[in-house]
Amino acid sequence: MAMLELENVHAYYGHIHALQGISMTVEEGEIVTLIGSNGAGKTTTLRTITGLLKPRKGTVRLEGEDLAPYPAHKIVARGVSMVPEGRGIFAKLTVAENLDMGAYLRTDREGIKKDLERVFALFPRLKERRNQVAGTLSGGEQQMLATARALMAKPRLLLLDEPSMGLAPVLVEAIFDTIVEINQQGTTVLLVEQNALMALSIAHRGYVLQTGQIVLTDKASALKENEMVQKAYLGME
């Protein structure tokens, strides 16, 4: 059974038909990436999965269970954690308080403590700055914090929305290395990216999204060689 399965999902913003029949699967333990240009519907797909936007048609299934009846906060409780685009940290709270908020739904103190150690091991910078106000962190550190906070919820499926946005190349590489590490520790990852080259180099499989439709899907390595992908998203002629 797939970890996550979208079947012919249609979603709207008002009259705008944003998702026009998306079907995709994410297997347990995979890194799957969703690439596409601005406005293709990448973020909308994530919002549909997390329940922030309800599909008008089609189903979203988590381990075989239809998510339609669950509101957003219940879906988080079922093990889906999202790192929103533009990082979405609580800017006025400290790093430690932000991480605390991530573990908001959990009640196992011991487990939370262990996970805190784990994210501090993944992101040593955050440990150094744990009493600093999150809004004063650098862009890269904020991205780390957003990712760390999502991990504090102990998700089985981690949704990342544009983790590379606005970051220096060296930081992008660091973030992507960490994503691989998180995946190797047993978390399934669905990665939405505009930086297609980076995304395809760490993902197992990929989907290409265009104006609300999946136009292409393959192994990541194959997509990287695909002529159309190279032309449209990798900037190669």
């Binding site: 509101p71 957003a72 988080v76 929103p84 609580f90 006025k92 991530g102 908001y104 106000v133």
Partner: protein
């Protein structure tokens, strides 16, 4: 502090600008009649009154600001002449009042610019000599204000302390007299306060005492001693202070008399409302401008249920009607919450504003008049009583709001540190992220509205049983604005801030009744100055202080992390 922070040097233009600002403010105060109204309050004997202070206060402030600006830019030498210049310039605009008052009859337009005002600001010396006196005095005060910053810390603090005490006792001489009578006897008080103001000799004595205390640094020494104390001893002392505080609060109405007890009672009502609105606005970040509606629900429920003249026929006594009132408030809190679930910021504010007005209009309406009396209101609401003992004096009712506020504060502080409190905080910071974190926004929002409404309804119920008669016009928009202002002035999200804010915004105007017509002007000035100088409020909550007080503190914390982490 005295280092040059700005590289650009200031010149005379700064002084002139600040001086003009001070002068124009004075001109404005004079033209709207504030100077004249305030001149009724004598400060020292019959020589100095608040109106005169207001007339030259602009010069003093301009001088002070000029002095500070020049010290900040490292031009210590220019402080004195520039302060003098600023004061001099500040003395010029008020002359317009003199010219207009004597040469041009513009009374029809500016009723407040008249002979009396001219007399006042020219110190009764006549227009020509008086004008010169006014400008000279302004210049001297500008100089005094500027030299303030040149003094060393100890002197300055002592001087401010001494002057503040004189101002305080002079301004509230009547209230101070009633309190002091109980401690130092009637004849001593008679001597101290003549002509409804402080006797000049008494003022000098008072100044010397407070100055000396401050100069010796009694408070400073105490603080240092406190900081070096071991934690165990600190908590011991804290307990003593707490007990002392409780005893003080319990004894308060008997020390201050009936009038001040009534003022304390009203402050208490606003503290309770503030605690509630603080949850809605401060914790949860939902800007609610219709908060008075719940106050009205509490008051009307109490009135209808307990008044023998009402349709309820006085079926319930206060203690049985109180929980019903709270319940009604909570219910309507949830009811208001539902339609506004998806609204944020400005839109939420507008809708809640409308809701508050709807409730007031309904209270006025003929439609509901058979139940709640329309414009006639509900009359004959009885006082609460305990075991047959009627709480019919402000001194007794004070205890009721004291207990009520204490409970409200306790609940609010427990909620802040609870899971729910964290949900509110997360929602305040970012609704989307909060939802992505697994927080049920619907429940969280409704709980904020409901609990906030409950506090307000409690306050309203007590209000009704103290006033005995309630009318729709007691529940206007101004109450909502008052409560909102007081939590902002105190510091959004902070509990002690609510008490400080209520004391300043509700208590002070009650004590300065004759200035009531300038109440809203004062609010406006206070809020603007607060936002510029102390945006986090008088007693801010930690997170907000961090946000608004720059990054220096945040960085300091980082630096101490390695030590804390090891």
């Amino acid at each position: 502090m005295n280092q040059a922070q700005d590289t650009t040097l200031l010149d005379w233009r700064t002084a002139v600008r600040l001086g003009l600002l001070g002068g124009v403010v004075t001109l404005y105060f004079g033209a709207i009649g504030m100077v004249l109204t305030f001149s009724v309050r004598n400060l020292l004997g019959t020589f100095v009154n608040v109106g005169q202070i207001l007339a030259v206060g602009g010069a003093l402030t301009a001088g002070y600001l000029t002095g500070r600006a020049f010290i900040k830019s490292g031009q210590r030498k220019s402080v004195i002449p520039m302060g003098l210049l600023a004061g001099f310039v500040a003395g010029l605009p008020p002359l317009i009042l003199v010219i207009m008052g004597t040469l041009f009859p513009i009374n029809p337009m500016f009723v407040n610019i008249n002979d009396e005002l001219v007399q006042l600001i020219t110190f009764g010396l006549g227009p020509a000599a008086g004008s010169i006196a006014l400008v000279v005095l302004s210049a001297i005060l500008g100089l005094a204000g500027a030299s303030f910053e040149l003094m060393n810390e100890r002197w300055r603090k002592a001087l401010i302390n001494g002057l503040l005490w004189i101002l305080l006792l002079g301004l509230f001489s009547e209230n101070a007299a009633t309190i002091l009578e109980k401690f130092i006897g009637r004849s001593a008080v008679r001597w101290m306060f003549q002509n409804k103001s402080l006797n000049p000799i008494a003022a000098v004595v008072l100044f010397l005492i407070t100055f000396a205390f401050s100069y010796m640094g009694t408070g400073e020494k105490g603080r240092r001693k406190w900081e070096t104390m071991p934690p165990a001893a600190q908590s011991q002392w804290r307990r003593y202070f707490l007990i002392l505080g409780i005893i003080f609060m319990l004894a308060l109405p008997w020390m201050v008399g009936q009038f001040l007890s009534q003022v304390l009672f009203i402050v208490g009502l606003y503290v309770m409302m503030g605690m509630g609105l603080n949850i809605v606005v401060g914790y949860a970040g939902l800007l609610d401008l219709g908060y008075v509606a719940f106050f009205a629900f509490g008051a009307y429920t109490m009135g209808v249920l307990t008044s023998p003249q009402g349709p309820g026929g006085g079926v319930l006594n206060f203690w049985l009607a109180l929980p019903v009132s709270i319940l009604v408030g909570v219910m309507f809190g949830v009811l208001l919450g539902f339609p506004v679930l998806n609204m944020r910021g400005d839109y939420l504010a507008i809708v809640t504003l409308g809701f508050g007005e709807i409730i007031r209009v309904l209270a006025y309406s003929n439609w509901l008049a058979p139940i709640i009396g329309g414009a006639q209101g509900v009359l004959g609401i009885p006082s609460p009583s305990i075991f047959g003992f009627e709480l019919n004096k402000p001194e007794y009712m004070y205890y009721l709001v004291l207990v009520g506020s204490a409970i409200a504060a306790f609940i609010a502080s427990r909620l802040r540190d609870s899971r729910l409190g964290r949900q509110w905080m997360a929602m305040r910071e970012d609704e989307d992220v909060a939802e992505a974190m697994g927080i049920n926004l619907v429940q969280t929002k409704l709980l904020a509205f409901a609990i906030g409404a409950g506090f307000s309804a409690t306050s309203g119920a007590i209000f009704a049983s103290r006033l005995h008669n309630i009318f729709p016009n007691s529940f206007g928009i101004l109450v909502s604005i008052n409560v909102l202002s007081l939590i902002i002035v105190g510091g959004l999200g902070s509990l002690p801030g609510v008490v400080v804010g209520a004391a300043i915004l509700v208590g002070l105007p009650e004590l300065l009744r004759e200035f009531a017509e300038y109440r809203l002007l004062m609010y406006g000035i206070l809020l603007i100055v607060m936002m510029l100088v102390k945006p986090e409020g008088f007693w801010p909550e930690a997170a907000r202080k961090r946000e608004l007080r720059g990054e220096e503190e945040a960085w300091d914390e980082t630096e101490s992390v390695p030590a804390a982490a090891d």
